[in-house]
Symmetry: C2
Subunit: 352 residues, 2 copies
Amino acid sequence: MTDKIGVVVWGLGAMGSGIAKVLLEKEGVEITGAIDSNPAKTGLDLGQVLGLERELGVSVTGDPASVLKEGTGNVVLLATSSFVDEVWPQIRESVTNGYNVITIAEQMAQPGVSHPDLAREMDALARKYGVTVLGTGINPGFVLDTLIIALTGACAGVKKIRATRVNDLSAFGPTVMRTQGVGSTPREFAEGLAQGSIVGHIGFERSIALIAGALGWNVTKVEQEREPIISKVYRKTAYAEVQPGMAAGCRHIARAYVDGLPVIELIHPQQVKPELEGVETGDYIEITGTPDINMAIRPEIPGGTGTAAVAVNMIPKVLRAAPGLVCMSDLSLPGALMGNVARMVAGGRSDG
Amino acid sequence: MTDKIGVVVWGLGAMGSGIAKVLLEKEGVEITGAIDSNPAKTGLDLGQVLGLERELGVSVTGDPASVLKEGTGNVVLLATSSFVDEVWPQIRESVTNGYNVITIAEQMAQPGVSHPDLAREMDALARKYGVTVLGTGINPGFVLDTLIIALTGACAGVKKIRATRVNDLSAFGPTVMRTQGVGSTPREFAEGLAQGSIVGHIGFERSIALIAGALGWNVTKVEQEREPIISKVYRKTAYAEVQPGMAAGCRHIARAYVDGLPVIELIHPQQVKPELEGVETGDYIEITGTPDINMAIRPEIPGGTGTAAVAVNMIPKVLRAAPGLVCMSDLSLPGALMGNVARMVAGGRSDG
């Protein structure tokens, strides 16, 4: 074990840049490579791309092979896409070069849901190369799955789980505004849903698979509903304008059934400026069971910061795990990294 | 792997009986032995001791060796005492007979805090016999440590953790009334503290060690304060009577310092009938960090049900762990067991 864990950051959009900045704050971690396909970023020093005052001595490259073949790192933090099909070639290249992978691609939180054969292939490849591959993030990956699972740890039995994440999209850019239907008329919203341009939240099926897998529930049916959050008031952000009567966002709901009963209900209304109609953001988990547990986090754990944090915090868990494709419930308890990360990886069990 | 996980329940007081009842609800688990030192219970069928209508075909014995030497189980669930010194001989006997051990002894949540040499010996013994030993429970073991650690998983950095567990002691018996000073005058309370008959909560040092170990904080000092919760009103339970001006319970606070700063503050006011003065019970975790996280669980996760649940829920995690002495943050995410436990133990990663 070297004195620092080497990390390659692949993808330097908003999320990847956030991850890189978190990494720079950690002891015992070194960014050994930075990959991005955007020609406006390649060739620049990573510090410049991150908007820092200082150079970091790491040049952003558009050629993954040039970084990965050097083999100077232990783990790739991959923040390029939400979808399994798009990250799989990048995961394969990382794994075959001996890198562990943590990706925030939403579908990778439990890739077997949509890609069972590919998940098996990924698992086999990771085992062959002796590395571990994890998909995580704030959601899926934490709020509507990992945290729910952990809370059920105090339950002798669970009848139903109902969890709601009410968040604020105001800070997001044009892509999110479009995929959440912000500023669309009810008719445009319906058309967008039908055409697939409005998608709501990516990850409900993954969260449900994580919860059901961890608890041992055999889910027989998953239903999803998406509907516009019609604004009663005028709302405006840097990238969106919502007139009264238009959609301020998308209320996305998923229900999972076991033995004909809806045992998991996940509710995720995402909108701009929720406070203008008195909506308080928050993460809410209600478990009906023995005992009942009613949890509230107000305001919600912010998506951007949270995703970067979870991804970085899982580094020692991934490096200490047995090889293969894993999910959050396979690994030891998440937790913030406030000490030397290399020492946490090398050390005894209690800090891993 | 047999088709059922065999469990020996050692200790059939309120907690051990609760654990046995939870076990009876689980698929793929079988109680293969029951041990208690109380002659009023030995020789009876476990069903009778648990107050059930039916016999379970398991005779309660006062002779641990007779059960353990049969070797018909995989794990001992140990609920006999709060203290390392008292459970160690029982753990040793279980381990040397090839049993994994889950104990709710508060001090065992992180035994190395008070018994570093013994903890090493326990770890070595468990490794030698290829079994895993875990201390857990609702607190220590879950609310003021595991849950806190898990929440910091969404933080890029943590400056301070302040967590409060406000609970209701009304259901507890004479021992708890005495050790929490319920019904004592302020003077009696002070004397009880000085003499050690009033102790407050057992487990703060363990929770602090778990949190600090998981996050990588080097704690240099731990302070504890215990003070009476003086009642303004008359309060009465089955086992205690509190006149105005007397203690309704004990407010116990622990603070842990890193680099001279109090980074962990755990607050645990325990009293009877808190609602008579408008006190709402609950579990509250405030993390000052990036981001801040403010969590509330109202009412609090109940101690009795919660402890039995956590202990049982950790069975598959313990059976799948590498041998040795472990703590909650070493193991994969806790979660309720709603499927066949034997299958969870035997199965793939995602369900373990």
